[in-house]
Assembly symmetry: C2
Homo-oligomer: 364 residues x 2
């Protein structure tokens, strides 16, 4: 069996600390379950800029393309806020998503029983919540051309970006969405702004066509993005799988993540097109950011990154048993009462990043 090639990109801020905990789990797997990974580490974002003068070094892309899966911590921080647009840490993240062709971003928003009270929403509104937001990740406003800032002859400046999708882009994310819905409750809600934006009129038309032609067994509904933001707050459990374009997905998935009250728990997966062997390029990362305010303090919650690694085992390496093991270990540690600061609740034990990582390994 070929070695499992994993590229680890700790990135910036707490990315480094939380990734260290994942390394312990990988060590445990090598020791106890004889699973060997061939691991490379690379730089992305601010960390890469500091060393190479660019947030997105060529060797990082090369390593990413050579790997079976990429595990990312987080990028960004105030240290790099004043860099020019094309040197900012985010360019690294966006670059790697685009160049790896990671068009499908899976963002689950789930509420673990042990953590339902951490939400700002009433317990009955969010307990048991389990939705999957699928965000298109390599199109739309994020990458559309033309874009820029021009100075007009009269001195006025004009800033512009382009929201653009082609039918193949819509259809390929649509298929991932319908496939996900099929594996869950066969209900898909496509979010657009088809009453205002022609681009999303096309989106809606293609979703309707796809459902008719290829997924008649999945129930498809449509919702305007403003209403979707409302409905997520009003009654999030009405949703199962949601699919939407890049910018809307950025906003709605963060909103949904916060509904759970435990952002520090949520993993995500970004997948590319399946190759002839059904293999997809893939990058896994926590939903939370680099949290510069608590970086280096051994305070961050490593569970989202650990859960991202579990997702990686499940989707990229078909190691379902191991993924289950990790997820169960995380749940048990929480049941046992350990909490990092972000999910701290009265009567629980507040622990550091390191102690939380140790606890998961011990539970394994």
């Amino acid at each position: 069996m070929a070695a499992k090639k994993l590229l680890i990109l700790p990135g910036d801020g707490i990315g480094v600390e939380v990734m260290a905990q994942v390394r312990r789990i990988i060590d445990w797997m090598a020791r106890k379950r004889k699973v060997e990974f061939e691991i490379t580490e690379g730089l992305l974002g601010g960390a890469a800029y500091d060393v190479h003068g660019t947030p997105y070094p060529a060797e990082t892309l090369e390593a990413a393309l050579a790997a079976d899966a990429v595990l990312l911590g987080a990028v960004g921080g105030p240290k790099w806020d004043d860099l020019p647009f094309d040197k900012k840490p985010e360019r690294g993240l966006l670059g790697i998503r685009k160049d790896m062709g990671l068009f499908a971003n899976l963002r689950p928003a789930t509420v673990l029983d042990a953590l339902a009270d951490a939400s700002t929403l009433k317990n009955e509104v969010v307990s048991g919540l389990d939705i999957m937001i699928l965000r298109e990740l390599t199109g739309g406003l994020y990458f559309g051309q033309p874009r820029g800032i021009d100075t007009l002859p009269d001195g006025t400046r004009k800033g512009y970006n382009t929201l653009v999708y082609t039918t193949p882009e819509i259809v390929r994310i649509g298929r991932v969405a319908f496939d996900l819905a099929r594996k869950r409750n066969k209900k898909l809600c496509s979010v657009d702004k088809a009453n205002v934006l022609e681009c999303t009129v096309l989106w809606r038309e293609e979703m309707i066509k796809l459902q008719k032609e290829e997924y008649p067994d999945v129930e498809l509904s449509h919702m305007y993005v403003d209403n979707a933001a409302m409905q997520l707050v009003r009654n999030p459990k009405q949703f199962d799988v949601m699919v939407t374009e890049n910018m809307f997905g950025d906003i709605l998935s963060d909103c949904a993540a916060m509904l759970t009250g435990s952002l520090g728990m949520l993993p995500s997966a970004s997948l590319g097109e399946a190759d002839a062997n059904g293999k997809r390029k893939a990058l896994y990362e926590p939903v939370h950011g680099s949290a510069p305010d608590i970086a280096g303090k051994d305070m961050a919650n490593p569970l989202a990154t650990i859960m991202s690694f579990a997702m990686c085992l499940r989707y990229s390496f078909d190691m379902v048993a191991e993924a289950d093991l990790i997820e169960t270990a995380v749940k048990n540690v929480l049941k046992g009462g350990l909490r990092t600061a972000d999910i701290m609740q009265p009567g629980k034990a507040k622990v550091s990043t390191t102690v939380m990582g140790e606890a998961v390994v011990r539970e394994l």
Copy 2:
């Protein structure tokens, strides 16, 4: 003193019913406070399409431009869902916003004490909430050119819209935002996606410049739109005035409105540029939509439209005393225990649209 010219556009769905309650208040004002309005009624949206074959008849625009203020119910409904893009009810709303130059959309999200429990968020998170979202309303993706759906030579289709802002557009909405902040707590949060979209890089630069040059007494902060959606859910009370571009404002203001749990209570104002006399073109409408599911059933909550009329008195006619009267009457009616279905709570009295309207008039 010149007559106060008010154009009333009931629009579609519950728009008609809720506006009927406002008419009663206007009658009361004529009877009891000798305030005479010169009222015209017009058609917009689906109702206009049914009569004129267009959602946006020329005479409606004419009447709107001649009026001192416009009061709108709501537009849209499934009846017109299958019309071509340019005949849909929304075209009427977008057309009138653009042609009246209503670039500044004020959307307060406030929680009345009597209704804090109606929110899906925990009481302590939302009680006393009072934020003002200022949404740019005539620029950005909603109106940017080029836009459309093209068929490429190979048969692929491409849908596109343009997110575009010029410096004057940003500065004029910025001024309204800073002025609002000055009248409140001198804190303004500008929401953008400056780490990804050049258009909003320009937005941020102009906001910074404006603060330095004209509003050094107002504290300006910046937040990315995804984080703003999160923070609204996590801790909405951290905000006071927020300003953002059209599409982000559409999403965030609906999210914020839903936090209050009483969408049926929220008014909004859309203002144009001040003329030589300091007068602004203005349109007032409830935040909620046309709610086709309950239209015609005498169930809708008329209070948002009544509160929109109060806003109209306050901003367009300087009738502060009368605006206060109406707002107090609404609060008292709620304190008295009357509720329409949407804000019904245990132990309160459920009443119809008409009874709620009557109650406000009686309280006055």
